[in-house]
Amino acid sequence: MTEIPEHLRKRAEAARQKAEDAKATDDPTKGGAAGGGDAPAASEADSKIPAHLLERSKAAKAAKAAGAPEAEVSGGAVVTAGAATALATAGAPPAATGPAGHTQRLLTVVKSGSIQDVKSTPVDKVHVWPHLLAVEFVAALAMTAFTLVFSIFVNAPLLELANVNETPNPSKAPWYFLGLQELLTMFHPMVAGVTIPGMGIFLLILAPYMDKNPSIKPEERKFAVSIFTVFLMFWAVLVIMGSFFRGPGFNFVAPWTGGLFFEL
């Protein structure tokens, strides 16, 4: 069904009202004399059903109301006027009509979206080739170039042969574990090495299940964003501290005075 714009519908209503008023004032005598026939006349004007068809249906209705003689003809049974309507249906071939005279039944209601994926708004899409593949290719190329050039100028460290009897001072874990090593200076090894990182991983896994806020707008998820930023900063600060500000004996040292004790 098409939606009729509000202003057009109002205009049509106003026009119809005006026409009716004009009719009423034009021939008041006819309006008064018609009496009961007024309503059908109005509906006649409204529904554009041809006059002769309406006449025919009116005649049929009248005949049905009179009932008996016609039923006698078709069904061939002798009935009283009281049972006229019952017989009319019995005599004719049985029509499948519902309680209110409907000829069809509602079997089920299928909501839109339950079977078909109805897209309420069209999605703006582009072809993966060339739009995405080109971007990926350039990114991969740039990354390769960066790694290659960096590797030409900076060598990976290879210190002297491993010796279990000679402990370097300081001994440091790989940089991504230096946060944990930093925690070792503050907590019991079990807390720093197992409990805290274990909790960190566990919380990360649980994050999508704890965050019930459906919004992805930053201004509507300030809490989640702040908590996560604190989480990131916590590790970043620890790693930077462990990497650059810890010297012999894992004591504090300023890199600009004490030198750098850091190997990648």
Partner: protein
């Protein structure tokens, strides 16, 4: 004379081209509709065929939302992490040709690789720097996904897989750290495994399994080598496959704000 020769040569080339592209071998390699069968001219249909009739269809749909190709939204971090994984695999296989995981030979092999093997030093450098970069890009990828809220339903489980992949990345990097068998490797791993030895209840057992003995030695080296070149990459590839599959099944990358 030359004028008549030219079209003849050209037709010979196109004849050869036709016979190659019409051969059974060629047609068995490229699927019907592949641009390598029927040539490529730029049209929406052919743009779809490039993806649909190639192995790329396992990774990418034919079309993506327009914002998905906006570099400033994802910064390509996930894709770059995967690319670094591939780069590490390639350089790593190269290194495997020159390396024996025993305490007596490991350090010497690396040293010889650097001094006597063509491109040996360069490839080892690339492997090392790419490894550090990968830890960084995976970490940044996680941060990007969080700040965009891209872990929200229906993507919760893919985030979980992502966290597993982050741990696997750290494990890959850490197991590789020991392999040069120099002072840096030995003591970094000593510090790391000592921490894991404090696992409650079965800390000693954890440490024993990790080291393949009471102390770091040649058994540890073999153990970590197998973990580094076979076991952890194998597990990682499985999780990567699930990760990529879920990205597509959960509706592609999340939308802009």
């Amino acid at each position: 004379m030359a004028k008549t020769m030219k079209p003849k040569g050209k037709s010979k080339i196109s004849e050869l081209n036709d016979s190659v592209q019409g051969s059974q071998a060629w047609n068995s390699i490229f699927r019907p509709g592949s641009v390598f069968r029927k040539g490529y001219s730029d049209s929406p249909r052919n743009r779809s065929y490039v993806i649909m009739n190639s192995v790329l269809y396992h990774l990418h749909p034919v079309k993506v939302k327009r914002h998905a190709v906006k570099v400033s939204y994802t910064l390509c971090l996930g894709g770059l992490s995967f690319f670094l994984f591939i780069l590490l695999t390639i350089t790593g296989i190269f290194l495997m040709f020159f390396y024996r995981p025993t305490a007596a030979q490991a350090w010497n092999d690396i040293y010889t690789l650097q001094t006597s093997v063509t491109f040996g030093l360069l490839v080892r450098n690339m492997h090392r720097w790419a490894a550090h970069l990968m830890v960084l890009t995976v970490f940044l990828h996680m941060a990007r996904v969080f700040y965009h809220g891209a872990y929200k339903p229906p993507r919760e489980f893919n985030w979980v897989i992502g966290v597993i992949l982050l741990t696997l990345t750290l494990l890959l990097s850490f197991t590789g750290y020991l392999l040069p068998w120099d002072q840096l490797a030995l003591w970094a791993v000593t510090v790391g495994t000592n921490m894991m030895g404090y696992t409650p209840v079965f800390g000693d057992q954890v440490r024993f399994v990790l080291l393949g003995g009471k102390e770091i030695g040649t058994d540890t080296l073999l153990r970590w080598y197998v973990l580094h070149v076979l076991f952890v990459p194998f597990v990682t590839v499985i999780f990567l496959a699930i990760h990529f599959w879920r990205v597509r099944k959960d509706g592609g990358i999340s939308g802009p704000l």
